[in-house]
Amino acid sequence: MLPGAQPIAATRKLYVLYEDGSTGLMETSVEEPRLPKPGRFVSEAEHATRLSELRAGTGVRLAELVAGDEERTRADFDALTGAGLPEATARRLSGYEGAV
């Protein structure tokens, strides 16, 4: 052991729900960490519930974006193949990856 070197303190996980709707998962050795914005410490379960809500919301938005991508790229693909480009070329240019 290096003389003067202090042992690295053990850390623990803390769960936070902030008033702006975000969640926080801290890993720290500080006994009572202070929150930089309004919020409260909660149980792991409560944090997990809110996190699931956030991720579900992201999932919904992502699904909408992917659906929009599909519709748009399919339209581009159809326009390109309709103009006489080979399918492979049309796929690369449009980014369409779905079934024809």
Binding site: A5, T58, E97
Partner: protein, 254 residues
């Protein structure tokens, strides 16, 4: 001798000289006994003396002088030519001894002590925050979110030098054509624009900066190390839903 209780009206008491004394006189009033001690001679006294620990004695001359036996860390024997002194080495450094050397102290039990040993310790803090797919703001270095941790100097004697490392990672959802950036305060660290035709989900990279606090942290004192993760150059519907940070510190008191 009057009232001495001897028979026949005469005193039969006698006074004799013991070792080192002389008796004169007859005991009469006009010629009383006189007991005198003999003057002590050097030869006599010298035989009564001896040396012991730390003292050297020569009976022939009567000389008494110091002859202290030293242990580790001491030199000399207590005589004028070789006084008792602390055994030290010559200062080998190019810098000035008076301005740079440390001190030695005496504790309450009479034990010599040196300056307290230096310390090195480590502080680690991590936080992951999730958000509801918030829009990435346009412009440069816009507020994203703020993080902080309190760091304490464990050394009760010395101030500490704080070496701080901060890491951040922001997760972006970038629809086709969208762009987004994040930074450490006013230093933009990452920018990506989706020039493709489909959405990029979870575009991210983790970046690190190391710096030192300008002010030393006093013995036993605490300070709050903050970390503002900024966002910017958001376009075409870019959003963020996760920020992860590490704030670590090396605490050095030497």
């Amino acid at each position: 001798m009057a009232r001495c209780g001897c028979a026949g009206g005469e005193c039969a008491c006698s006074v004799v000289a013991g070792d080192g004394t002389t008796v004169t006189g007859s005991g009469s009033i006009s010629d009383p006994f006189v007991v005198s001690a003999d003057e002590a001679s050097c030869d006599t006294v010298r035989t009564c003396l001896s040396g012991t620990d730390g003292i050297e004695y020569t009976p022939g001359s009567g000389v008494i002088r110091a002859n202290i036996q030293t242990g580790c860390g001491l030199t000399g024997n207590g005589r004028a030519a070789t006084p008792l002194a602390v055994a030290v080495a010559a200062w080998p450094f190019p810098c000035d001894l008076e301005d740079n050397a440390g001190e030695v102290y005496c504790d309450a039990d009479g034990v010599l002590r040196t300056a307290p040993r230096g310390m090195v310790s480590f502080h680690s803090f991590q936080e992951v925050r999730n958000y509801a797919d918030l829009p990435v703001p346009a412009g440069f270095d816009q507020p994203g979110d703020s993080f902080q941790t309190d760091v304490t100097n464990p050394d009760p004697c010395r101030p500490a030098f704080l070496l701080v490392e901060r890491e951040a990672d922001v997760d972006f959802v970038l629809p086709a054509g969208a762009g987004a950036a994040y930074g450490h305060g006013t230093d933009e660290m990452y920018f990506l624009r989706n020039t493709g035709t489909t959405t990029i989900n979870d575009a991210h990279t983790q970046t690190t900066k190391v710096f030192a606090l300008a002010a030393l942290l006093g013995p036993g004192a605490s300070t709050t190390v903050t970390f503002d993760v900024t966002l910017g150059r958001g376009s075409a519907g870019a959003t963020y839903n996760r920020i992860q940070v590490f704030i670590r510190a090396m605490i050095l008191s030497l």
